[in-house]
Assembly symmetry: C2
Homo-oligomer: 223 residues x 2
DNA sequence: ACTAATTTTTAGGGTTGTCTAAAAATTAAT
DNA sequence: ATTAATTTTTAGACAACCCTAAAAATTAGT
């Protein structure tokens, strides 16, 4: 019996976890295949394996749920991924659009001590460079309040807390616009016909499309 | 055609490189198998693959030599391995007997920028925690002068520069004896019958077996 | 409710890297 | 120089993970 988890298995569990966050139905074979850039038939194979190992609950044709054990593993990977992202930005001069690819590799390194010491070394960060919360050692995740910039009304002020889409393209767009985590933004005007909004930040005025505003997490300022 | 190198291939090249350092004949199938804890038949299979990729020169029944390309890859892995070891000891409180296992994983992470930035972050270290030289970006390796403690004569003084055997057991033995890199040692007496030697360091007197003295690199002090 | 479209699974196969057992080549020994 | 011992290779097989194509189940449309 193979007692050690493979990188592939870890990636499946992580993908299932992330998919299960954005819904509360079973996670479909197809959605996993899409997320992992693989074929549905491969997913079915792997799901059976994960089910045998009691990491997912699986009913044929009905998709999967993570078990408690599966969720624990997924969160541990997520924790490692995000800690490494912080390390790369904080100490190795990586930009927020460069870290993901490298963290995808680093997250699979197996060493309890490594994770713990890294966490301590980084002074127990709570969020990664994209504003996503870092699970603590016990797997607790501080939840985003998940308010999007698109939901902010005219004349309200808010602070950018995170990005929903963390693709390289989006992150580079934000860089070129001067928008970062922590940036204070005021909504000046919202266009009714395309939902784009005029915002004011750091003295600059800009128009951003709904595609942008729907992918930025913010914290509203109380008046 | 698969353009990317696998971790297994990297491990084979690294093993062949280390074996070829301690001899100047072709590296035998069996020795590789032993080093990698695998079977000779598996090695033969892999060697053919490495030969197809022009990373080793292979003549049936005659063992292998690394090509220039193969050597380059091996050195790159070695460089990453040793840089990570330095990082683990210097910043994450690992002991020198703990680092190897974790560095074996970290060395396979692929990112030019990561290696470069790590090197810079560590301030371009020249040696790892076991005293082994770290190849520079171009693959140049500062060579040990390779004098062993066992070769030092009575009343001579020297400094511990590295370990030949870096097994956990040996490293722990050294820790318990108080011997570290940089420790100044004087040879007080050599026993003819078993080649053990009496040494003096930091005011302490100790008898060490030849097995120990043959595994410690030193730098002689000029008189 | 029944057909059509979609999703998921099965069947059969490929690749990588491993193994055992047997055959072939090399090296050692007398 | 032959035989004996050792090393290396080949042959055949297996596990992990992936694929395509076809079959089965589910969901959607009218």
């Amino acid at each position: 019996m193979n007692t050690q988890i493979s990188q592939t298995e870890e990636n499946y569990l992580k993908a299932i976890f992330r998919l299960s966050l954005s819904q509360n139905k079973a996670v479909s074979t197809n959605s996993i295949a899409e997320k992992l850039n693989t074929k549905a038939s491969s997913v079915t194979d792997m799901i059976k394996k994960l089910s045998d190992k009691k990491w997912v609950d699986y009913v044929k044709y009905q998709g999967v749920f993570l078990t408690l054990a599966g969720k624990k593993i997924a969160i541990r990977i997520l924790r490692k991924h995000r800690l490494w992202e912080v390390f790369l930005v904080k100490h190795l001069d990586f930009t927020w659009d460069e870290v993901h690819e490298v963290a995808e590799q680093l997250e699979h390194v197996k060493s309890e001590k490594l994770t713990q010491q890294l966490d301590a070394y980084l002074e127990y960060p709570t969020h990664d460079p994209h504003g996503d919360p870092i699970p603590d050692e016990d797997g607790n995740i501080a939840h985003h309040k998940e308010i999007m910039l698109s939901a902010i009304s005219c004349n309200e002020k808010c602070t950018i807390m995170g990005v929903k889409d963390s693709s390289v393209a989006f992150l580079k767009y934000l860089d070129s616009s001067g928008i970062q985590l922590g940036t204070l933004v005021e909504v000046v005007k919202k266009e009714a016909f395309d939902q784009s909004m005029h915002i004011l930040f750091e003295g600059k005025k800009r128009n951003i499309s709904q595609q942008i505003s729907k992918n930025l997490f913010v914290k509203k300022h109380r008046l």
